[in-house]
Point group: C3
Chain length 428, copies 3
């Protein structure tokens, strides 16, 4: 079925006038509707954001051994992650140089070489074409290798950029996050569980939803257990005495814990490189509430094998936001979320739960306990993303005001989006 | 799946050249195909017809009590009907002023206040915003109320207009239909049954299908029982002696009955305000055939409790057509049909059967008997709408001639459509 | 869901700039991606290829008797094949001249007249309108007959052209194929089995897939049994001694067999009218490997009743390719494939297995044995078409080099496509 068009008011720019839509965005407010709902905006997002920025697509544990392949689709563009025989992780376009067929089905496989099923063109794990029959003596295989995709393995998170001219500030991201992720030793984790959830909304609504916790108290009873409510932002004029007391106490706690973390070799200051940074990210180390160990229903560690000895000495939740993902790294496990666009109103949220590679299910961790909080939280968020998209489709939608206390990060997000679109020629 | 495009002949305007398509419409003939099938025409229909005209969306019985909410979607635009604590029915955009989320799921609910599930912004039933945390002391709630939608309750039928400048001739419609609907006392009815049927065709084909009964003899054996065949229009040159006799007899019957109806205080003359009227409608009072009481399989009343004492004294079927609906009001029950567009080739037909609010199912009426005729008739019509749309998709489609005896109302319908599109700047 | 857009590189023409895309096609290489994936290219294909060329839609056995109707949809345009009372096969648009409804559901029926279900307008099998009530004395039925579609019955294959100005070189096709098909006496066959397979790819990828057998060895174990591998094209520099021996032997075999076939009255030279021919086709007579009788798993005849005495005397596989179909005519049965576009990424492959009309299932042929090879082969090909389309959606797709030994026919196919688009005004 064709999508029902979103009606406009007379004052709105046309849905395909991206320049005017970008120019119409008002600081402090959410985006004009058609930037969330329109086909033209979606096409531009694929082109600008997903094809010219560093995108998280997986983790080292997706390809633990030489010959392991992980095929993932960035919108319509399928790529392959493969660990070659030297142990290096490489990325290629998942498209044969002959007739353009997709070589490996989406998902995981173990291969000796990459063989296209269509006509058996055969590529080494380095991308080199070594087999292609019937092409004649003058055919130069060296010109028909797999097309490489830029890749950075940053502390076990795999980032790729489809552009031939990737943003250079990945170096700054690496310099900051490398040391922060190192203690979690992600190279020695395994994927204990993975879920795919298709959210019925624009990918930017999925990202905005994750970037604020204003909605958490009313929607996420499970996740809320591991947060102090005043840690999620607040309007100081609204605090009750009890809340103010908690806020002050928490502030003191952070001072104390940060000193402890830094002493353990766990860098913990907040970094908020969003506005003005092509490779945007934000990281902070959060105190976990309750028993203080992990994002579980009892806030205790779900896995008795820590990710590393180093992190076992200092609790907390290292939070990392990037353009299409978010992450929680804790002493006992990590949760890695990637968002990939499927259509203007459809996005894939893939969630991976990582534990130490030697941890044994049923002995070192109970799987249901490990995944419970985020399985529920994801489902709750998917409902919110759906109604946010439905509202954005309406003639009654108007960009609304972000709270400067609990949604400042969204203002930064939308400002970043406008900046990046302008940097690629829209609305300037 | 993307919709297969409709091929054009060299002489046809392009599917997105609405001006040329509108200009190409020939009086007496159905519309150029792309006005039924094209994405551009659909977008214009949403904008011109559904966002700038009075649209029927429900009945008083959808929100019988204070706090009752009925959420309905006009294409992509969700609205809320709510009865406030003073008993007044109000309409709002079903979109939160904060982050634009759809507040209430489509359908019916009972609420104290309207609370957005996303961040719990809270609105009174008057639309006033009374709760919004974290927005700061300088935040003016009065600027962020729910956006009202123009609403008229005409004899228990609820019309809304999404435009800020609704057509003024709603007053003429109200002046004529108010007194005609008053005797049915719809405020004191309940919805005995409701069906949603998705028709695989353009909404205008659904409307055209209902506006003629040329197709009834061959397709609606159930409905045909309650009509005299000569009451559906005829070519006088084709009448058999028997049919002419019936036509003459029926004509005499109408003279007699009309006098009776008027004497009972039931205004009964036909009003046909279509061409030239933004708020188009047609009403007439029909004699029911057979036992003459109701549109049932035995043409007897389905409900022994009349809608009101007044209508119990005069039988007949008050027929009302509006731009996106049709209605049958009879002594014992009423059937209200609303058509809402879902896509160029997909429309929602919602049908409500109303009986006196005190009628008890199983005692005062048998539900199967009440709904049988129109459940079957709707299904039959959906088949016809589907094949009409399939034909309009074809390169072999040509606008065809309307019968001037049995399809004059369609010529008026299509003329009205062209007029309204021209009034909004297309094809002039 | 809306289709995810295919991302472009900066150097690529826009997806809707068909002229630039056509002009960008490089000889020896597959097409620019958007010609396979884009909505604009699909619309042009429907208009240029499917509405202005001769398209195969069926066989005589689809309408064996007067009153038999076969309704088939060429993209969005439904047509009717009908055998009239004189035994002539006619084609009409399957659209009523009144309100444009599709008259006959897709598929087969037996009728006395063609009666539109909407208002019972009634047409003779010649297309003449003989019944239309309520239209008035001045209504001229002669102006409202069914619209005829150009049709050629060539040796039992039914070709239609939706244009009023069909390519004239159908005469050359008929002159060559008529005598070659005559021995198979298709008029006296019946459809033993028919399958519909929806392939998730552009129709041109379906056609390209069929036009080369480079992929056969790796994908079609069943079909490969009835071919000599060196009969599928090869790079001479790659042949092993054994393969060269086979190639030489096969070449001698062809000389011998061709003489035998011609002596039996079976014209057997290869004709390759693709580039430069609006009504493109290629025909050749192939030697069947193994037992040499038929495309079955044991390469023996599947049906003991031959299609005719004439072909029973000379084995072989008469292969015919046309713009939207391919065919295998063998001594005991024939398989006829038609490809009809459903969307940019969706195509219908309809396959009919024909045997002598007097053959009795279970006695003269075992159905499973008859259809096995091509049921499997079609399924395997559908997988390849799907991954070819997925790859063409990618930003990583580049037009790839066709093998000049085993894919020369694809180069001709793509050249023909470019020629025809240019002939209709694109890219010149």
């Amino acid at each position: 079925m064709q999508q029902v068009v979103r009606p406009r008011r007379a004052v709105d720019p046309a849905d395909d006038d991206l320049g005017a839509l970008i120019a119409a965005r008002r600081p402090g407010y959410s985006l004009p509707a058609a930037l969330y709902t329109g086909a033209a905006a979606f096409e531009a997002d694929i082109s600008v954001v997903f094809h010219h920025h560093w995108i998280v697509v997986g983790v080292e544990a997706d390809v633990p051994e030489p010959g392991d392949v992980y095929a993932v689709d960035i919108g319509p563009t399928p790529i392959i992650l493969v660990r070659d025989d030297e142990g290096q992780i490489r990325a290629f376009h998942n498209v044969c140089s002959h007739r353009g067929a997709k070589i490996v089905p989406s998902g995981r496989a173990i291969v000796g070489k990459l063989v296209c099923p269509y006509h058996q063109w055969t590529y080494e794990l380095t991308g080199e074409l070594t087999g292609a029959t019937h092409m004649g003596l003058d055919f130069d295989k060296a010109l028909h290798h797999l097309q490489p995709v830029a890749l950075r393995n940053i502390g076990g998170l795999i980032y790729v950029c489809l552009s031939n001219d990737p943003p250079e500030d990945i170096a700054a991201f690496e310099a900051i996050m490398g040391p922060r992720l190192a203690p979690y030793d992600l190279a020695n984790t395994k994927i204990a569980y993975e879920t795919d959830l298709i959210e019925e909304g624009n990918w930017k609504l999925t990202m905005e939803n994750n970037r604020e916790c204003y909605h958490c108290a009313g929607n996420h009873p499970e996740l809320a257990l591991s947060y102090y409510s005043t840690d999620l932002g607040f309007d100081p004029s609204e605090l009750s005495d009890e809340e103010r007391e908690q806020a002050d106490w928490l502030s003191a706690q952070y001072a104390e814990r940060t000193a402890l973390w830094e002493a353990c070799g766990l860098p913990s200051s907040t970094v908020n490189n969003v506005v003005g940074h092509p490779t945007q990210f934000r990281t902070q180390r959060l105190i976990i509430a309750g028993a203080g160990e992990s994002q579980t229903l009892d806030t205790r560690a779900a896995c008795r094998l820590p990710l590393s000895e180093e992190v076992a000495t200092g609790s907390g939740d290292t939070h990392l936001w990037t353009v299409n993902g978010w992450n929680h790294f804790m002493g006992d496990h990590a949760v890695v979320f990637t968002v990939l666009p499927l259509g203007p109103d459809k996005s894939l949220l893939r969630t991976k739960w990582l534990v130490h590679k030697d941890a044994v299910e049923g002995e070192d961790y109970d799987l249901a306990n490990l995944i419970s909080v985020w399985v529920d939280t994801n489902r709750e968020d998917a409902d919110l993303v759906r109604i946010a998209h439905q509202g954005a489709m309406s003639a009654g939608y108007r960009p609304g005001p972000y709270s400067r206390f609990t949604e400042r990060t969204l203002d930064e997000w939308s400002t970043w989006y406008v900046e990046r679109m302008q940097a690629h020629g829209y609305g300037v």
